[in-house]
């Protein structure tokens, strides 16, 4: 009998430490499935961030290095210069990418580093226990803004796709979400396009994946999925900001 579905062998045989309902596991699996389908697993090199996914090498079956907090794009750019045919990608949370690593992400985009970045935006610092992120929404509670993020102190949440797409060599920029089956299918296509951009040497590819952190949002997983639709997507609109003809 022909199997209709198989768990990707690119995920290592290991139970993840992620909380129930966390989007990290979904994102990992999508990236691994895409790499296998593209025949690029063997040449993939991942730079993992400081955040809940720092030990993603326990789960993703690709060569991997843990980066100091926020520095992943520069680390990946160093790797890519040594292995120009590699499928090199960074996997970063919002604290890592938008806060402490804001400079590296902008300059990698500006230089048009031929790498992919998968940006897990869960609007909170997961690993350190729910502090405010640059992407925390106005009014949203976090341990360091217990009354909710306020405009006076912290200004508006950062929309990274909108910022990155101002760099001409960030040729592929798309925001997707991981909260419904339909969104997850779109996300997989976006991940595939990002690797295709890299393969064709077109420039920098940036995919933002709106994600859930039920634990630090203080919600049941199902509620958290709804919250992505209700609260995140209105402020962080899904869609393609830039996409080269070659991969459309």
């Amino acid at each position: 009998m022909k199997p209709v579905f198989e768990y990707t062998n690119a995920m290592r045989d290991k139970i993840t430490h992620y909380c129930p309902g966390c989007s990290h596991g979904v994102a990992h699996r999508l990236i691994m499935e895409v790499l296998v389908e593209r025949g690029e697993l063997g040449k993939a090199i991942c730079v993992s961030p400081v955040g809940c996914s720092i030990t993603a090498h326990q789960y993703m079956n690709v060569d991997m290095i843990e980066s100091p907090h926020g520095r992943a794009p520069a680390v990946a750019a160093g790797i890519k210069r040594v292995h120009p045919k590699g499928a090199v990608f960074t996997y970063q949370g919002d604290g890592d990418l938008a806060s402490i690593g804001g400079n590296e992400i902008l300059h990698s985009a500006e230089r048009g580093e031929n790498i992919c970045t998968f940006f897990i935006n869960n609007a909170i610092y997961g690993m350190t226990g729910g502090q405010m992120a640059p992407t925390t929404l106005i009014g949203m509670k976090a341990t360091t803004c217990p009354a909710g993020r306020d405009l006076d102190n912290y200004g508006m949440p950062m929309r990274m796709c909108e910022i990155v797409q101002t760099m001409d060599l960030a040729v592929y920029v798309e925001r997707v979400a991981l909260n419904t089956p339909a969104h997850i299918r779109q996300a997989k296509k976006a991940i595939n396009r990002a690797f295709e951009v890299q393969k064709q040497g077109l420039g920098y590819a940036f995919v933002e994946l709106l994600s859930a952190c039920p634990t630090n949002w203080g919600m049941q997983p199902a509620k958290a999925m709804e919250w992505v639709d209700k609260s995140m997507i209105p402020y962080y609109p899904l869609g393609q900001f830039r996409c080269p003809e070659e991969v459309k």
């Binding site: 060569d63 290095i65 843990e66 100091p68 520069a74 160093g78 210069r81």
Partner: protein, 361 residues
Amino acid sequence: MAEKKLMKGNEAFAVAAIAAGCRYYFGYPITPQNEVPEYMARELRAAGGHFIQAESELASISFIYGAAAAGARCMTSSSSIGIALMQEGIGSCIICELPCVIINVMRGGPGIGSIQPAQADYTMVTKGGMNGDAHNIVYAPSTIQEAVDMIYKAFDVADDYRNPVIICVDGMIGQMMEPVVVPEFKPVLEEKDIEKVKPWALCGHKNKRDRNKINSVWLDHTELEVAINERIWPKYERAMKELPEWESKNLEGAEAVFVAYGSTARIAVEAMELLEEEGIKIGLIRPKTLWPFPDAAFDEIDKETTKVVISVELSMGQMLQDIKLALEGRYPTALINRVGGMLLTPNEIVERTKAVLGGMK
């Protein structure tokens, strides 16, 4: 014999790295080392290499962390406050056992400090700077030729120990010109051979082996203790046996011994000659490695004649502490120093030496 060329220190450092097979340089501008990146920008690409002006020193050391993990010989350079900014990355290279070479052309500090030559990064480079139990291997050349030879060798030492190697010079050696012989160009490790030479490197597993992981976080802290005890420290114990280098001069019959490194050692030698003319015999120990510090050099001091060991340095006695540890109380010590970017002159050293000796009578 190879031809001698008149070269500026900073440019000679860059040539030495290219000769050693380094094809990856990443750096951020800072005085007094700008000629290093500028030379690399002109020459490295022509040599088939990669030069990137990084957006910050944080990025420079992160490029290094990536390129070293990918298996390449790579180098960055900076000065004092820029090296301070790199510390998290340097510590990460150490625990991840990633070889790299870093040139620190020292200037005055702390803070932005001054752009004049200084040696006040001694403690930062030899004792840490980075968090955790870690060491850099540190060379301190006193001529441009010696710097060239040390940089040339540093890439092999870094690969052997899988640890960062820092070449610590001051702005004077970076900026002056001297004749140098550039060593023979070594063959470059090609991308296709990295896997064989560095099986730990990230090259992609090609569906042929388990994935390589390079990690610096330890969720099980007992494993971190094991890593430090069983992987990092045995290397340092070997380094302490194999690497210390020094030069000594006129120790026999010396009334006092100067300990000085880098450009300060050159000025100390001039002061020794002036003192000799006045009948005061001074010896010299010139550490060429600052870590591991050449403790054994101090066993050669003349017990019969030496009354005091004097650290001559451009910092507030930072090296003096290592001298005291090496002496284990065998001799009194003294300090002759200037700081903040001020230099010692031979005459000043002469006068201050006489004061030290006078105070001992």
